[in-house]
Symmetry: C2
Subunit: 345 residues, 2 copies
């Protein structure tokens, strides 16, 4: 094939003795182009080794075919799955992803949002950082009617769509499950309550307590960043509680749960005998820790796919922001040995 010069639609046009416009239209299967011409164009394009110049196209059409993605961290199983889902959905409709991470910092998130804006992404997919307080940094997008879709860690806003699971219900169900196993003092390892996922989970936890006539004890809610260290720290706190120690822990993610379990096991506590455990996310580690961790499963892949599809719909004008403001995905309680008190001891 022709090595050096890039083939343009003009080369194809000349080759076929038609106009560049026709080639341009033919290449994107414009309906008003004769089927036959269209085929000839496609063949010539292939034969000449044509590749479209997206810059010329973007410059003209003011569409970049690029979606910006801002996530707290790249390196978790959940987020990898989300990205995999996004990548699949995006490539299916010929969109690119520009991915960046906030490292859980509002400051970096703001910087990333600016960058995305300057890169003129057609739309934005965001899962908020741990400590993001407001969404002013997305205002430029709203102003320009660039659709923003939040997922998992969302921000209730008229101007954007959110993809979530029913965190309240999920937490309610885990808590209920634990209470039904006979647990009396259920501790909750929560994250920053600014984030819907954590406040909703706390709410679900509270609701279940209430329904079971267990009074809410603030001392049993431990707020942290839910990482490895926080899990260990929570365990230390539990160990320091002596007789008033909880007999169950619900962590808002599996990481905190697992590292808390490891520390408590080291200290000689039996799980679930002395203390039952449940987490969130169904991370692979939940099936490796012993005993296996009861958790809430929801598909990151589906969430990523849904987020992209929703965004694309907005871009295509299929759905307006107002019609679908929140999409709730399925989640399931997976009961494993870490919470089965009845059958174990």
């Amino acid at each position: 094939m022709h090595e050096d010069k890039e083939i343009t639609i003009y080369d194809i046009a000349k080759h076929l003795n038609i106009s560049a416009t026709t080639v341009s239209r033919g290449l994107k299967d414009h309906p008003t182009i004769n089927k036959n011409t269209r085929k000839k164009i496609a063949e010539a394009a292939h034969h000449l080794g044509y590749r479209s110049n997206t810059f010329a196209s973007s410059l003209r059409s003011k569409k970049t075919h690029t979606i910006g993605v801002i996530v707290p961290r790249l390196n978790s199983y959940f987020m990898s799955s989300v990205l995999a889902g996004m990548e699949d959905a995006a490539s299916r409709v010929n969109y690119n992803l520009i991915i960046s991470q906030s490292l859980e910092k509002a400051g970096k998130e703001i910087a990333n949002a600016h960058t995305m804006f300057n890169k003129r992404v057609d739309g934005l997919l965001v899962s908020l950082a741990y400590d993001t307080g407001n969404i002013n940094h997305f205002a430029p997008f709203f102003r320009k009617k660039i659709p923003v879709v939040f997922f998992d860690r969302i921000y209730a806003s008229e101007e954007s769509t959110g993809i979530v699971i029913d965190n309240r219900k999920a937490a309610y169900e885990v808590t209920k499950h634990l209470l039904e196993q006979g647990c009396k003092r259920v501790m909750h390892l929560a994250g920053n309550l600014l984030r819907n996922v954590y406040s909703d989970r706390l709410a679900g936890y509270k609701k279940a307590l209430e329904e079971h006539n267990v009074s809410y004890d603030e001392g049993l809610v431990h707020i942290s960043t839910l990482d490895e260290k926080s899990g260990t720290a929570a365990a230390e706190r539990i160990l320091s509680m002596g007789k008033k120690r909880p007999d169950a822990v619900i962590a808002a993610n599996d990481t905190a749960a697992v590292y808390c379990m490891i520390k408590l096991k080291d200290a000689g506590l039996l799980i679930p005998g002395d203390i039952a455990f449940a987490g969130f996310n169904n991370d692979p580690i939940s099936k490796i820790i012993e005993p296996n961790l009861t958790t809430i499963n929801y598909s990151g892949y589906d969430m990523g796919e849904t987020a992209v599809n929703s965004l694309i719909n907005h871009l295509n004008g299929v759905s307006s922001v107002r019609t679908t403001n929140t999409i709730i995905l399925r989640s399931d309680l997976i009961i494993r040995a870490s919470s089965l008190k009845n059958k174990n001891l």
Copy 2:
């Protein structure tokens, strides 16, 4: 700020009563522009809310400032770390990443390579799929002198750079460690030997056996895709071996090791008493499985960073492909309980 119309260099030019050319040059700190003018341009740009149009720029300059990334899978801890490192390094020099996954299939990898080529990435970063047989699909890049950097799963080629660890040495050291623990029949769970990482690890394993006068037994090398299922299958094979069962297993990744361990533990085998274990990658799961898994640690983050930096150097003409053909990163043996036979039983 001005809401609707995009500000162009012409607007700045008009505002300052100078030419667009000067603005263009001023904006990129061209040396021939008066310092004072330069400052005025920068101020006006900021004040008017100018954002550069990368498409116009790319169209003209034929540079996209975009790096293509093709990885086997997004959703592993190692790869997430690699991507995090790449993202950091790339954003530092204002490059974008377009990320795609081959899902371990040569076919998808070829398709991805085409896509990347058509998107006109300035350079390509690749970790090869499980069964990729040749790199003909990267020939168009070589032909156009678009730099291609392979990482981890590389392909020895004159035309490209590779970023790896010394897999042979690493495997040699794990094997040696196991033999020194008194293991006599060391099994190796290998991956496709087409991939350097797996053939090199096998080579290191063989070398250590040889040095310790242990004869190589092909029956003790189990080749698979090294995923969860393969780990379980390997365990089943081990269990079926009866008396000839190995007393140690070195898996070419932690996933295979861990799921193999779980299955064997279920079957009642003691680790490391009956059978010692070691893996590769230092995945988080290696610290959660009991006993903790001995493994080879190497930084995905560093590898990603190094890959991007090396690519950028090529793009800037700092280093030619010929000068640095392979970069070897540090790796370390981390000894944990799964391989400590002496101190345990």
